[in-house]
């Protein structure tokens, strides 16, 4: 019996008149890699922002290690963030800082590590994600998209978080680079024994990194299962999405 790391119940979030999350129930087991798939604008990003406390849901419950985080105090949220790492879609690297200062941000600002020690640690993690040490002193704007993703990944894993979030990790990358990033994600998550939550609409990436897949549609989780189950299911929504057909029950809002 594995233990539940993140437990979400009846989560609601409305923007204006648009119901983005309309009663999401989702459990993520410890050490599991869950991938949430769904079309653009179905609330995938909103879901992970709610879990991280970047957005406050209108109602519902999110428990991490059994502790309720919705409407939690600032100090609890801070503790919670120290257990988490996040790879942002665009990297979200701080462009006022050099690459290594980005990677070592937590060490420098939260753990008050000495600069040379922090830099060594940053270079070690950069190597782990396949970047040469001479990248460390560059500015993020000098890097290619794939390299920025790697630096973002290095920044997310340097504190050895228990939970890592990946927001469209392969979007905007060529297929080979996407696969390299997929491998890095699997490697670093396995290495840390971390629980991961990935949102993507890249099915190749989802197949590769997922232990379990959940599909978000119209603000609800309409299906979940393993990759094998996904290939066998006759759920018309999942079949349409996985095969990428314009025809089917999912209506694309244009």
């Amino acid at each position: 019996m594995s233990e539940t790391k993140i437990s979400i119940r009846d989560l609601h979030k409305v923007f204006g008149s648009k119901k983005v999350l309309d009663g999401v129930d989702l459990d993520i087991q410890k050490g599991e890699s869950l991938v949430v798939i769904g079309g653009s604008g179905t609330g995938k990003s909103v879901l992970i922002k709610c879990i991280q406390g970047l957005l406050t849901p209108d109602s519902g419950s999110i428990k991490i290690d059994g502790v309720e985080t919705v409407d939690a105090k600032e100090s609890l949220k801070k503790d919670m963030h120290s257990k988490m790492g996040m790879l942002f879609q665009g990297g979200a690297l701080f462009d006022s800082l050099s690459v290594w200062e980005n990677v070592a941000f937590s060490l420098l600002e939260n753990h008050h590590a000495a600069r040379d020690h922090a830099k060594m640690e940053a270079i070690r993690v950069l190597r782990q994600v396949g970047l040469a040490p001479d990248v460390a002193d560059l500015s993020p704007s000098e890097l290619s998209g794939g390299m920025q993703k790697r630096v973002g990944l290095a920044r997310a894993i340097i504190t050895k978080p228990e939970i890592i979030f990946f927001d469209e990790p392969t979007t905007g990358l060529d297929p080979i680079m996407a696969d390299v990033i997929n491998d890095l994600i699997i490697e670093s998550a396995k290495g840390l024994g971390a629980t991961t939550l990935t949102i993507t609409h890249d099915m190749a990436s989802a197949r590769k990194i997922a232990d379990k897949i959940a599909m978000l549609y119209q603000g609800k989780i309409i299906w979940q299962g393993t990759v094998k189950e996904m290939d066998k299911t006759d759920d018309p929504f999942v079949v349409q999405f996985v095969n990428g057909c314009a025809q089917g029950p999912i209506k694309v809002e244009v």
């Binding site: 988490m84 996040m86 942002f88 879609q89 665009g90 701080f94 462009d95 941000f105």
Partner: protein, 263 residues
């Protein structure tokens, strides 16, 4: 029929009004939150020092140029007004009062609003739309403490020093015109300036400057923080930061003057 007209009228009036009240409320909440985080640790000293340099040191040329010409023009104008009636002493006094009480603080603040308010809104706005603000939060760092508090403190503290610098340069501008253009006696002019110099003139300017510095940083941070949707949103935020800061500077200039001088 009549009722329908009233209804449409109220509706057109109501929508902007509701919008206005909402954004006013958001601003007040933003100010309260910023103040709370400005006074509670952790403090990011390095960011504060960097902002002091950006807002203060690098604004010195702009402030110097602005105030020297302001002082010069005031000397010229007041001379033509007072020609004949003890112009030397009058010009010195008018330059002194107008520079220290009004021109140095207001013109410097407007220039800094253009220079710094815009840059702040653009930087923070870009960080917002590229998710760097979210990234800060996920790295257990509060953007209010890391980004906004150092800027607000720096604006509040450094503007008075800029204005003191502007006072000196502005009065010097008046002196140049007085001596080299209007042919005053340097010793008499300096004596008159020192004689009329009052602590209240300087403190007025300094109090105003502190308020203006806070306003500039606040509008820069607030508009940047609220910006949405890519390059266009950031552009809008930048414009709003400068316009709102400039208007608020002029309004508060009047209010502070009234507070200090109304009898």
């Amino acid at each position: 029929m009549q009722q329908k007209h009233i209804e449409t009228f109220l509706r057109t009036l109501g929508k902007p009004l509701v919008k206005f009240v909402i954004s006013l409320g958001e601003l007040v909440l933003f100010i309260l939150k910023s103040l709370y985080h400005a006074f509670t640790p952790p403090f990011y000293l390095k960011n504060f020092v960097k902002q002091m340099l950006d807002i203060g040191f690098y604004s010195l040329p702009v402030v110097g140029l602005t105030t020297i010409f302001a002082g010069m023009v005031i000397a010229m104008q007041s001379y033509s007004g007072f020609a004949g009636m003890g112009a030397e002493r009058m010009v010195a006094d008018v330059v002194l009062i107008s520079v220290t009480r009004e021109l140095a603080p207001v013109l410097s603040a407007l220039m800094v609003a253009g220079r710094i308010g815009a840059a702040m809104a653009a930087e923070i706005g870009t960080m917002k739309v590229t998710e760097q603000l979210d990234a800060l939060t996920t790295l257990s760092t509060n953007p209010f403490k890391y980004l906004f508090a150092p800027r607000l403190w720096a604006g509040f503290i450094v503007l008075p020093f800029l204005v003191l610098f502007g006072d000196v340069i502005g009065i010097f501008g008046g002196y140049i015109v007085g001596i080299y253009k209007l042919g005053f006696n340097p010793a008499n002019y300096i004596n008159a300036t020192l004689e009329y110099l009052q602590a209240l003139d300087i403190t007025t300017g300094v109090v105003k400057a502190a308020a203006f510095g806070f306003i500039i940083a606040l509008m820069g941070c607030y508009n940047g923080y609220r910006s949405k949707g890519g390059a266009q949103g950031v552009g809008e935020a930048t414009t709003n930061a400068v316009v709102s800061a400039s208007i608020l500077i002029l309004i508060f200039n009047y209010l502070i003057t009234e507070l200090l001088f109304a009898k």
